[in-house]
Point group: C2
Chain length 430, copies 2
């Protein structure tokens, strides 16, 4: 008898198959009919034990099928429109593989600290399972989008002697007697790679030693960072909006069931169509000064400000041309030298910044001046300056935060649920 | 006029196009005909400046086109079977974007330390460019293989309180006053994820603080680690050989030009067809004891031993069932309890181990005993033990080293050329 994944059962109607999985739930409707909901990682299946059809020995041992006990179940697959997945199984045999006694996560409500301590088990729950599926589908869509358009994946290093965004929130580590930092962004290296391959992206973990305990911060998070030779800021924004539209569209189609499980209002995602509005920092400031008391022109946006701006449009909105004081050293100056050519993309519904991008300073002398202004060690950036010395070009790129994007698509406000094993101020385990 | 990538020029024969790129090489055949080889990251293009066809101003400034100067060139694309890529350009205009004076890497031979210091520029060279393309294609083929077969990508954390393979070669880092380690493997977490999703993989950087300076070691390297619920060791080896065969086949077809640039003997890759031979550690020992004096039964294989074994077959070979003393704590016991159910895959041609895998111990008591034998802290592994407490199942997985696999496919023996920015004992820059 062949071992089949639950997700593929529709192709096996009328066949006897073997399912390997775990007890998700049970229900004894009467002495003669008992229900077993099985999960195998690919989906859920309702299995029915009928007296007369299922051998008595299995019906008698039904009580041993406690939550998360692992089992091998055989039976006949029948079409049933009312059941999850459209099929159910008439059980012929049940074999217990590993028992599970007093499984800690029950259908009742648990506090978040408890769930976080049991993240290795919490991942089995329906909602967490759905979020991880969306995450995997979204990142695949991102990579495929770029691969199909001639981008080359060039992993940036994690350990480095450079810092990218300033040194205050860096994790450091002893590297054979020398100090190394954990990467905050692969961008600087992606720039070198773009000058070798034209269009590249890095995809990997990035680190910020932030002491903030908000729902929007992880100390370890994943970023995808495309970088394109000969792209200016406008071309960059064109690419970002096409990319985001594509990714959201793929997920809405391919993860219909998962978004349903998450009770996500999909209509909010369906209106994510380009073009996205593009407003300058100056215009954004004018809006905020009118609508709130806690914003000062020249300052960075807080979460509340991002919400005000994004709620105006019902779709992602770009803010571009930021005051140079609030951006990193590598941004290209705008026509007005008070500003630099950065662009942030704010997600709707208060999910905040999901993409940060910009055009890079490509003039050697200007970049050197900026390095000094930011009190960075010139020697550490010699290689980065070289990129402006040997065939410099206009180039741009962006970084998209995987967890923030998944949180937005899933409608899950706290980032801890958007990554398999979150790392935060007080969370280094499991 | 449209901006076109060099790789797409075959679709633009007879058209005037714009190319943006860098001067790869120049040659003045006479006063009247000059050649410019352009690279744009996607390929190389021969551009011809003819007196009479190309405006004189550009011909007169030909000497300014030094190596790696960035340019925008327009001209007519013509079919030419003799030229690289099958086309050449009759130049109409050349605009210099960024000059490049005294580019450090010239066509002459350079020492490796010099090239490593200039890795950010070395990446532009033809051979390095080809290796990175193979790397990107191979990892994409790996991911697609798994995605197409229902595996879910579940990133494992990098920072962790656990060690996976023992603590001697760990990088550690201060995590808000607590000690954290950089991951040596995502496997333990992948096991938790497999029990939630059935079939998963992790893909990410892993770290070993190894002081060895061999061509086979990096301190930071990338691993893909699939993990499958309800798989035993034989199913694991079946999957590995199908996976490797697939990846090699895709690269041989899609990276024909790159492998040609690398002068790789492709016939050696074309015979990588399953089934791969499978020999037990005991059988491998018997071979080695006969053929070399420096092997002792019960010990781990060195590079030389792996070469002896793999050269016998001309294709990858599995060694399985290792003495438990030389393997990590989590392997499942074999029928003979002196051995554990690990499997290594050795690449042919002396490229050594590229895959390490095995079936995991799924019995709670046995695993606990092993943890104590290995003097690991039980409390740190409580969550890992839980996986054997709540619905334990037989499960297996493997890890494939990206750099070693790319080195083998490319025929490049030193791993430093198989990753964009290598990290080794003395290499933390650029």
């Amino acid at each position: 008898m062949s071992w089949v994944s639950i997700k593929d059962l529709k192709k096996h109607i009328g066949e006897e198959v073997l399912i390997k999985g775990w007890v998700y739930n049970t229900r004894a409707s009467s002495k003669n009919i008992k229900f077993l909901i099985l999960r195998d990682g690919s989906g859920l299946l309702q299995c029915v034990l009928f007296k007369g059809e299922t051998p008595e020995e299995f019906i008698n041992r039904f009580d041993e099928l406690t939550q998360e006990t692992s089992v091998e179940v055989t039976g006949l697959i029948k079409e049933d429109a009312r059941a999850v997945g459209g099929v159910e199984m008439a059980v012929r045999s049940v074999k217990i593989i590993g028992i599970s006694t007093d499984y800690p996560i029950t259908p009742k409500e648990h506090g978040t600290p408890f769930l976080m301590e049991n993240r290795h088990l919490w991942l089995r729950s329906k909602k967490q399972h759905a979020i991880m599926r969306v995450r995997a589908r979204a990142t695949k869509a991102m990579r495929d989008y770029l691969d199909d358009r001639g981008f080359i994946c060039m992993e940036s290093p994690i350990l480095s002697a450079n810092s990218c965004e300033g040194t205050t929130t860096l994790f450091s580590c002893d590297y054979f007697g020398e100090q190394a930092y954990l990467s905050q962004s692969g961008q600087l290296y992606a720039e070198a790679s773009a000058l070798a391959h034209g269009k590249v992206y890095t995809f990997g973990p990035t680190f910020r030693a932030e002491k903030s305990k908000t729902r929007r911060h992880l100390t370890e998070f994943w970023m995808l960072e495309p970088e394109m030779a000969f792209y200016d800021l406008d071309m960059n924004m064109d690419l970002i909006e096409d990319f985001i539209e594509h990714v959201v569209r793929v997920v809405v189609v391919d993860c219909k069931n998962e978004l349903e499980t998450l009770e996500r209002d999909v209509s909010k995602l369906e209106c994510v169509c380009k073009p996205f509005p593009r407003i300058s920092y100056k215009e954004a400031s004018d809006v905020l000064l009118k609508e709130t008391d806690d914003f000062e022109e020249g300052g960075d946006f807080g979460g509340g400000h991002e919400t005000i701006l994004s709620e105006k449009y019902g779709k992602p909105v770009f803010v571009y041309d930021f005051p140079k004081e609030i951006k990193a050293f590598y941004f290209k100056r705008s026509a007005d030298p008070k500003y630099v050519r950065g662009c942030d993309l704010l997600a709707p519904e208060g999910f905040g910044e999901i993409v940060g991008g910009g055009q890079r300073e490509d003039n050697y002398d200007e970049l050197l001046k900026r390095l000094h202004e930011y009190e960075l060690n010139e020697a550490d950036y010699k290689w980065y300056l070289d990129l402006r010395k040997y065939g410099s070009i206009p180039h741009s790129g962006f970084g998209i935060g995987i967890e923030r994007t998944v949180g937005w698509i899933c409608g899950v406000p706290h980032l801890r649920e958007t990554i398999p094993f979150p790392r935060m101020l007080n969370n280094l385990r499991p």
